[in-house]
């Protein structure tokens, strides 16, 4: 399944992902409602974009009392607005803190891949975000780690 893959070492904390996400979903520049957020550890010189990873065993869905959080055929975790009562239990349950809540609409939200064309990925200049199958995306890491273990340097 395709999802947002994050390469934190490329992130510069410019937050174009936050503004583009909020603009495409809300029609307004309101990063407070962005589905993706950059966690900024300034002193440690570490920036980590945080976004829904559509857990296989999703705690948000498990705690939802109205079954408003459902898995789609493509594997995506989705909030069904009509069923959501705005109790925010999912926000507390999410281990990554990436469920959001819109006070105006009274419903929770998470990354919905912008119907297959995630705006955060489109606007991420340094290439810290990619939309791809995470299992395949992990493969190069195996080669890299193995090489570090003992591949002769030329």
């Amino acid at each position: 399944m395709k999802q947002i893959v994050v390469y934190q070492e490329k992130c510069t904390a410019c937050r174009e992902c936050e503004v583009s996400c909020s603009f495409s979903h809300e029609g307004a520049f309101v990063p407070a409602l962005s589905r993706i957020k950059v966690a900024d550890f300034y002193e440690e010189q570490f920036y980590q974009p945080m976004v829904c990873v559509h857990c296989a065993d999703a705690p948000c869905a498990a705690v939802c009392p109205t079954v408003a959080i459902q898995r789609q055929a493509d594997g995506q975790i989705k909030v069904i607005d009509d069923r959501c009562i705005g109790c925010k239990m999912c926000l507390l349950a999410c281990p990554f803190g990436v469920m959001g809540f819109s006070p105006d609409k009274g419903v929770a939200h998470n990354c919905d891949f912008c119907d297959g064309d995630p705006q955060c990925v489109q606007f991420c200049t340094p290439g810290a975000l990619e939309f791809k199958d995470v299992v395949s995306a992990a493969a190069p890491a195996k080669q890299k780690a193995a090489a570090a273990l003992g591949l002769p340097q030329t």
Partner: protein
């Protein structure tokens, strides 16, 4: 048309008001530097002292600040400068400006003076003046961390360090830790109001007038930046990549402008920053350039640390002008400036001035406490601390800025600047247009008002001979008018090398506001209006043609080595031509015809 709101906070009375900016004012001055300057003009007598509580401190965003326009994250601090006595407009990136807009305000005007150290906390509609007694005396990073603890993890903070608290005329307003509204001593005005910080949590966000057309303009601009040579250069080496080039053309200011060639240039170049100290890039809000250098210094003893920088201007300010070629020390000095809230340029220029005075025997050694020499990295770092805390006679006079220091010790001619503000990192004898740019800049010597280097050395948009005055006054007016508009928009000047401000920035501003500002010619007219308004402020404050000046070293002492050898700046003829082109009289006062033409009468 999209409106704008000014939040007015009076620290003397505690009164907090929200006012709509008149639509006509937005059409006439756009935003940021334009509307901000107009608000200043309308709310103070330019003659009063910069530290008078009646001098408003205005934080201004532009119509594209906080949007996803490429580099659209700037805010400006506008006030009367305690360094120059002229209008100050210091520009910064980071995330603070956008946060102010997300909270519902395009402008914040702070008036009066708090009885005790205070900070302003803005959480959308809720605005409070809080005590900052526990924050006073704290460095910038600690202060921001403490405010975050007591407000919200996602708060954005603009604040001063000890420099601003101690009214150092070289103090800046810091935000988001590593960003600075640097020049003209605006941090000292904040300190004079007993205002330690403005913390903003903005969750409301804002809409723009024409979302689809705006997005089209943004995507067009983004494509240009993606393909642009300056953008990729700045991403790779930051502004620090300029060091070796400036040395090659003989205009890297060395030992207080006694030379334009620096033997240690290669050791402090941007390539070394990247190779030895940089850990990653950092971008301001919605930036595609990410020129910020996140750096770490290890294994250099007392210079170890981590933070942001250095920029090219910093390498000059606390480096070459002081004769310092120790890059670790330069970076450490940058960290200290960020922590104390000092402008890396002005703070370093003051030290460079002091070193020449000391070497020539004009400052008694007892005032300093040791023998001060060019190239002494330890002394440079030590004097930054003395400056921030006004320690001893030398600390006091450094905090007064290079001009006042040189004047106090009897040699004002050895201060290298204009309108009491130090030059940027370009010796104008190697780029004659910069001489006129420094002399006529409304906020005192500055490279961001008319970067004639772009024409004289980089050939953008056309190539001019750096050593002749020919065409410089004309091009300078174009650059000054353009940058005035760009600063009004809320976009970063660095985007304008690869975008066309007259087409791209005007389009973004128009679609954001829902008011057609027009094309290149209209942009220049709006810019000219802003420029002239600033000039009116300065004239009303008592500045005259005599303040559009350069020190004698620049006008009559040729450089003795390097590629700019033998040249000086013949200022007066260029100034006459410049005034004429501007429609000003020979004293530099806009004529009534010009004022009528610009709608400023």
């Amino acid at each position: 048309m999209q409106g704008a709101t000014v939040l007015r906070v009076n620290l003397s009375t505690g009164q907090i008001r929200k006012e709509a900016v008149p639509e006509q004012m937005i059409k006439t001055f756009i935003g940021g530097r334009g509307v901000g300057s107009k608000l200043l003009m309308d709310n103070m007598d330019p003659k009063i002292d910069a530290f008078d509580p009646r001098n408003p401190l205005i934080f201004a965003t532009g119509p594209v600040t906080g949007t996803y326009a490429p580099t659209g994250g700037r805010y400006m601090v506008i006030t009367k400068s305690p360094l120059t006595g002229a209008i100050a407009c210091s520009n910064s990136g980071g995330y603070w400006g956008p946060a102010l807009r997300y909270a519902g305000y395009e402008y914040l005007m702070v008036e009066g003076k708090a009885k005790e150290p205070s900070y302003i906390y803005i959480h959308d509609d809720k605005v409070e003046i809080r005590s900052a007694k526990h924050l006073w005396g704290k460095i910038v990073d600690d202060t921001e961390n403490m405010i975050r603890e007591e407000t919200h993890p996602e708060v954005r903070v603009a604040l001063i360090g000890q420099g601003g608290e101690n009214l150092a005329r070289t103090a800046c307003v810091m935000n988001d830790k590593g960003r600075a509204a640097g020049r003209s001593g605006v941090g000292a005005v904040m300190g004079s109001k007993n205002l330690k910080a403005v913390a903003v949590r903005g969750t409301k966000g804002f809409k723009i007038a024409n979302p689809d057309a705006f997005t089209a303009a943004v995507l067009k601009g983004r494509d240009k930046l993606k393909a642009g040579p300056t953008t990729s250069g700045l991403t790779m080496l930051g502004t620090a990549g300029t060091v070796s080039y400036m040395n090659m053309v003989g205009m890297l200011p060395t030992n207080n402008f006694q030379a334009g060639v620096f033997a240690g240039a290669a050791a402090v170049d941007g390539t070394v920053v990247k190779k030895d100290f940089m850990t990653r890039n950092r971008g301001c809000h919605s930036c595609m350039i990410h020129c910020g250098r996140v750096t770490k210094v290890t294994g250099h003893g007392q210079f170890d640390g981590r933070g942001e920088g250095p920029e090219y201007e910093t390498i000059y300010g606390v480096g070459t002008i002081c004769g310092v070629d120790n890059l670790a020390a330069v970076i450490k000095a940058n960290y200290l400036c960020n922590e104390y809230g000092l402008d890396t340029l002005e703070a370093g220029i003051a030290i460079g001035t002091a070193i020449e005075l000391a070497e020539k025997g004009y400052i008694p050694e007892s005032d300093i406490g040791f023998k001060l020499k060019f190239g002494d990295a330890d002394a440079m770092v030590k004097l930054l601390e003395a400056q921030a805390f006004r320690k001893g006679p030398i600390g006091h006079w450094l905090a007064e800025g290079g001009f006042r220091l040189a004047e106090h010790y009897g040699h004002p001619e050895l201060f290298m600047g204009s309108k009491k503000q130090g030059f940027a990192a370009y010796d104008p004898r190697g780029s004659i247009g910069m001489g006129l740019a420094y002399a006529t800049s409304n906020r005192g010597a500055c490279h961001l008002r008319g970067y004639t280097i772009s024409l004289e050395h980089f050939g953008n948009p056309i190539k001019l001979d750096p050593f002749t005055p020919k065409d410089k006054p004309y091009w300078l007016t174009i650059l000054q008018n353009t940058t005035s508009f760009v600063d009004a928009s809320g976009i970063c000047l660095f985007s304008t090398f690869d975008m066309n401000p007259g087409e791209d920035v005007t389009a973004m501003v128009s679609e954001s506001l829902g008011y057609n500002v027009g094309g290149p010619e209209d942009m220049l007219k709006i810019g000219e209006r802003i420029w002239t308004l600033e000039r009116m402020f300065n004239n009303a404050a008592g500045l005259t043609r005599a303040d559009d000046s350069l020190p004698p070293r620049i006008t009559s002492e040729p450089l003795t080595e390097g590629a700019s050898k033998g040249h000086v700046v013949d200022l007066e003829p260029m100034l006459n031509e410049y005034y004429q082109l501007r429609g000003w009289d020979m004293q530099g006062r806009p004529t009534s015809d010009k004022l009528r033409e610009l709608g400023l009468a």
